[in-house]
Subunit: 417 residues, 2 copies
């Protein structure tokens, strides 16, 4: 059988330079988030197929890499459908496994648990440029904290990380699912139509307010409702005043606390923020996942022309495992997008080790090779990276390769010299 050289479709091999950048960013994430009290946990990459297919994953559930049952459990001749063949699958996100992890280990976890996850997920998406079927996600979540200190800490930690990677001038957009719903209710939409309305509203960025209007009308929504709805969006400002506008306008359909909480999050984050960013109230922010129950937020970066992270409150999910709801709020950064942006920017990893290559002639006598090994040891102890390599016939080419690998300093050792 011929062996295949290429990686499997949609996944990729990573060469040393790429891994080095990723490892640097991972270490910085770990360091920054641990300053905010987050601890890294790990769950297996393989998850029960029932958990993965529990409608918590939205469209991602269609993209699961499913794993065949083994041994006696696999009854191929009796199998009616795919479901009979598989018992597990590769996780497509880190939120469903986190909810399982929390319910599995609750007796050993503190009452407020701050989890960091940096790990691979898999989605059998259509392969396309820059999007892979195995990719890394990076999530922080606070479980067991009902108050908005959770939102503040999540936003401060994430933006502080982005600041450390020299990202500037980005925007944190924030909204609350309850405001989203209240605005729709106030405008006269029926609650069973909310999802349809939000899917259209979500396109505001791309098609503008006129586009949204057109689509809502063509979906058959009443002109009056659409007008009331869109008038609010044209009047709401992206600051505290916008939140206050909602609070007053929606007084009959929205709990006062929701707007107050949102106002507090915005003002406090703005007051103590470290990185160079704006936090704005954005009533058009929808966030796709159905599990969100409260605040939702997203990071917009002009450089990228899109979101490089997002999250929100999902107080109901853990209850699906334990039977008791646990307040939960999380923020996920787009690790792969950040790596892409840093690479495009030609980001230089600070504080790299100096690299020295010892190029030794073939068949070096024992005593002399010993000296080379000793010298390498001393240099390594002194903090250098030393690679000992035997000279090839085409030494010029070999040296060029070493330089390309970052070995600026190449020392040659000849037999008897």
């Amino acid at each position: 059988m011929t062996l295949k050289k290429k990686a499997v479709t949609g996944m990729k091999d990573m060469l040393p330079a790429e891994v080095q950048l990723r490892d640097y960013v991972i270490a910085l994430i770990n360091q920054t988030y641990s300053k905010f009290g987050f601890s890294r946990i790990e769950t297996p990459c393989v998850e029960h197929i029932g958990n993965l297919s529990s409608k918590q994953g939205g469209d991602n559930e269609k993209l699961i890499f499913k794993i065949l049952k083994r041994g006696e459990k696999l009854k191929l001749d009796q199998a009616q459908s795919e479901d009979d063949l598989v018992d597990t699958g590769l996780r497509y996100d880190l939120t469903v496994p986190l909810a399982r992890f929390y319910s599995n280990n609750i007796s050993e976890l503190p009452s407020v648990f701050k989890a960091l996850q940096i790990a691979n997920v898999w989605r059998a998406d259509r392969p396309q440029r820059g999007r892979y079927r195995q990719f890394m996600q990076c999530d922080i979540d606070i479980l067991g904290e009902a108050s908005n200190i959770a939102e503040m800490e999540l936003i401060l930690a994430t933006t502080s990380l982005l600041g450390k990677l020299d990202f500037k001038n980005f925007t944190v957009r924030i909204n609350d699912r309850k405001i989203l719903k209240a605005m729709a209710a106030y405008s006269g939409f029926a609650s069973e139509d909310f999802d349809k309305v939000f899917i259209i509203l979500d396109k505001m960025d791309k098609i503008g307010i006129e586009g949204v209007e057109k689509e809502l009308i063509s979906e058959g929504f009443a002109r009056e409702n659409v007008d009331t709805y869109l008038k609010m969006f044209s009047e709401i400002t992206g600051d505290i005043e916008g939140v206050r506008y909602c609070r007053e306008k929606l007084i009959d359909v929205l709990n006062d606390e929701t707007a107050e909480d949102l106002e507090r999050i915005i003002t406090r984050v703005d007051a103590v923020k470290e990185a160079d960013f704006k936090i704005v109230f954005d009533p058009t922010l929808v966030r796709g996942m159905s599990y969100y129950t409260g605040t939702i937020f997203e990071i917009a970066m002009d450089e990228f022309g899109g979101s490089v992270g997002g999250g929100g409150r999902y107080d109901g999910m853990i209850g699906k495992f334990t039977g008791n709801d646990v307040p939960a709020c999380g923020f996920s950064i787009g690790f792969e997008r950040i790596i892409l942006l840093l690479t495009e920017r030609g980001y230089e990893i600070p504080g790299k080790c100096e690299k020295i290559a010892f190029l030794i002639e073939k068949d070096m006598p024992d005593a002399q090779l010993l000296e080379v090994l000793e010298e390498a040891k001393n240099k390594r102890d002194a903090g250098f990276q030393v690679s000992i390599v035997v000279m090839k016939k085409n030494k010029k080419f070999q040296k060029e390769q070493l330089q390309a690998e970052g070995y600026e300093d190449i020392k040659e050792f000849f037999v008897g010299v």
Copy 2:
């Protein structure tokens, strides 16, 4: 559908304390091996099923987690066997993927390529205490280096790492597949019987020389051959003299260079080694994998009562992908065993950050909370880990939990104080 709380069979959730130790060891591995010129690479966790089933993986090929084909490729009604259902699987080791990686990326890699891999592998082994179906492997490999500088650097790097983790008094056992074969040939065994002989020889540790004798005889091997064979083992010493004995004794069946190389590796490693260990010639060392072609080595640790790492030269494997053999030599450490040993020993991670918990009363007014956030920021900037947590009703229990998490310093903030 009820959701499952437990991790899938044979895999485990990792709590913060365990992940922290693992992350520390991983960082140390990365740092130590990079000093020796190794660079980390990554391959996808998912590999072509054909590559995984190419007889390079030995018994591990029976333990593959196979992944179901998707979409049109999956033809359940036409499937005759498992093989028709799957196109990929989870990798069971890092050596087969490395060989594929090297052949896939050869044009971008230096002529001597030193790879480090730290990554998960999966084996559907029978679950048992301390052995998991997802576990981490850590391999270093030198590709493109035919000379024994590869073996020396691999052994020096690995032992230097173990030394940094305070392992002492361990033993590197070394042998060469060519000596193994020459001894069997010299004793009169037929080459088609070698594997059978070696499987028995491999038990020497457990059943002693008499046990080996008994099994060889009961397998039907000639008394004369067995006597000649075992006499050599009783005469060979674990030092350079042992290697020289082989060189002289096996002069008709063994290339001089093999013994010379082995002698050089032993003497040089012994001369420049940093860690506290012995390197010994062990003619009973077999190493299971059929792909080894030259030197083989293993680390024995009394504390563990077994091997915590091993490797060897496998000059033929890459040729299976590229058609051209490339000299290759690798060393794999038993990452999970090392973590287990460190945990049992109560290993303390050096240089941990100090942790402070800010316990704040509920509904703290804006201005006061701002002060708390500012103070947290200053402490974080000063290098502390600060977690801000809202006081729960059972504050005493909450504080105990925080202390268990490592928050020795707990500062309380009350409304209006």
